[in-house]
Symmetry: C2
Subunit: 397 residues, 2 copies
């Protein structure tokens, strides 16, 4: 097959707030081949900044855009995806945003390839790495923001429990903005709302920056409520401080990694930071293959891999194919309170089965179908001119 | 003072080639305050992708553009620059391109502040860090690309020697594209052209990726011609491989770092990679303050700090203020073969004094004046629309 088009689409809800809710907008990438197949991927990144990486004029041999690198290229097997990723990244050596932007295209390439080979992506990954191709169910944890108060948080948690969730992560919002008592009250409310049998996770949203001793104190205070992990207590690249925090044995496992935009940044957090859960966003790190490489590294180091997903079920599917075949990595971040946009984005979202687990779709490619009719009202067409010349015109969705 | 405008300008020459020549285009940032002062900075980054970071619509609280973060803010002292940088970076936590894009604005803030306080930037840096404020001369090394053949390289080197250069770095082009004999012939030609008294540096332009053993062999082969360093033999984030290479004692110091887009990536190269020269581009790492922090780290680790500069003398000046006051860091990358655009960009470029050295300008701010009349013909006006609304209109230069 030859790649004939690579088209980004910027979608958003009408009123965007500063809340840490990543489903308020999104960037979809659609790739089409001359065989009539198309694949889709989603980036968890600034749509406009990423679109610029698809169309920016060449600056020199190290700043060449993604469309130039991919259009007209051959795609017949997994080796082609790897070769094309190498080409895209090498051509964009000096574009910092490259991994964020390319993630959607890389995912779309796997989606097309799976349709072409009539295999689910997880099974192609198993084949090329000669590893198990048996998928395992995952326990979905609802991923929600803390309520503004402990009372609101309690209501959210009881509602999630009523909906059948056995695990839920609470994050951002008021956490770390007031004092220790308030932070602990938030965690206590989450625990009480979910009940003693539920699993809760706490996402501090990088609020303590480099203050690892403060993070340690909070972790110790939260441990009474037995969260599965404390997530991102520190800034994404505060590796030395993560090392200090994890060396102090804070009594709760430490999770981080959503900010990783390369395999190496994840390696740094695992090897030098000493974290216990590595959370990778397939829509930021450059797509499925670098995520899979981090999964392998986690296996080697005996720590847990878990997805970071705060977009639609297109992203959720890409994330799940990466680690579906490892039975030990049994938790799945499952966005439970997304915007209307993210909820209507695919025709066949992942359901939670009666036993409370989610299973990867055993269909060609990613196994989800983008609902173009449903998302069309959310399209924000983009038009970019440089030097009087149009360099980006919105394609039809 | 209040910041009243933050304006990016995309400038370029008419015919841009794939050569690794960073002077074919550029992004300038102009900041103006209500006191009538203006400051300028330059990014070594994709102009369009970076402009998008100045104007992209908000996605949520972690994707907020630079203009929103800076416009209307107060700027009276160095603490304000640090506070504003924290704000910009926190607001753009999920924009990967943020450091590349923000570098120009951060540099412009120091430029304004220096004009406001009537002090050169290096002297403000010395004051706030309570370190020496005595500037020292630097030996400029011409930074050029290898010729396509050893013969061409020899001609380039003899020409540089004739122009009075006592040091020159040769990079990219054919290096690593053929075999060992060809690579060695290129280095030999550079040495013979510059003469036995000259200093030469070799820039491999990341050509050996992760193949550290190959890089070791080349380093050993080049050592006969005594280059000051071998630069970027490996990929920017191949830290483990840099560690292996430097642990093998290849007989030539190893230099790297131009790809660093955060303080931490530089720290990683120094502490975990074991390199001997850290090369920081002030126009990529987020500006003057993070560059200065890397300089301090280099001092602590007893390795050499040197600028990476392949843009105009606006960038050169920003780079030089960072390490002007350290007498041990005595080399200065001095672009010797830039485009007409980069050569006309400032009215008062840095000259090489009669003794062969370059001295930082003892003038308020960065000490160079952008020649707006000269660069106006190179302006490529940008216009961006999202959802039918204009979000970027080109300001007048």
């Amino acid at each position: 097959m030859k790649i004939i088009s690579v088209d980004p689409f910027y979608l958003r809800v009408p009123d965007i707030s500063t809340a840490a809710d990543g489903t308020q907008d999104t960037l979809l990438i659609r790739i089409r081949t001359d065989s009539g197949l198309e694949g889709w991927g989603e980036c968890d990144a600034s749509p406009l900044v990423s679109i610029a990486v698809y169309c920016c004029p060449m600056s020199h041999g190290n700043i060449i855009n993604i469309n130039t690198s991919l259009t007209g290229e051959t795609l017949d097997g997994p080796d082609d995806v790897i070769r094309l990723s190498d080409k895209v990244l090498r051509n964009a050596l000096d574009i910092q945003q490259i991994q964020h932007a390319y993630s959607g295209a890389e995912i779309a390439l796997w989606d097309i390839l799976g349709k072409h080979l009539e295999k689910p992506v997880y099974s192609i990954l198993a084949e090329i790495t000669r590893s198990s191709d048996i998928p395992h169910p995952k326990l979905p944890y609802a991923s929600v923001l803390f309520g503004d108060t402990p009372e609101d948080t309690y209501s959210i948690a009881t509602e999630l429990k009523k909906q059948g969730y056995r695990a839920a992560k609470f994050g951002w919002g008021p956490m770390g903005k007031y004092d220790e008592d308030y932070d602990v009250a938030l965690v206590k409310a989450a625990r009480e709302g979910m009940g003693e049998d539920g699993q809760i996770m706490v996402d501090a949203g990088v609020v303590w920056g480099t203050a690892y001793e403060l993070a340690y104190q909070r972790a110790a205070a939260f441990s009474e409520y037995s969260p599965v992990w404390l997530e991102e207590p520190l800034a994404p690249d505060a590796i030395r401080e993560y090392n200090k925090l994890t060396s102090m044995n804070p009594g709760i496992p430490i999770a981080a990694g959503e900010g990783c935009s390369t395999y190496h940044t994840a390696e740094d957090l695992i090897v030098n930071g000493g974290i216990q859960y590595i959370q990778i966003d397939t829509g930021r790190i450059g797509g499925i293959m670098p995520s899979f490489q981090v999964r392998r590294l986690a296996e080697k180091h005996g720590i847990q891999y878990v997805n970071h997903t705060f977009k639609s079920h297109l992203s959720l599917s890409a994330a799940l194919h990466v680690f579906a075949t490892n039975p030990d990595f049994d938790l799945l971040e499952y966005p439970a309170a997304g915007s209307q946009l993210s909820q209507c984005l695919v025709l066949n979202p992942y359901q939670i089965d009666d036993d409370g687990f989610v299973r990867v779709k055993d269909l060609p490619g990613l196994g989800v179908t983008v609902d173009t009719d449903a998302i069309r009202p959310f399209l924000a067409p983009v038009r970019i001119e440089v030097g009087g010349e149009s360099i980006f015109e919105q394609s039809r969705l």
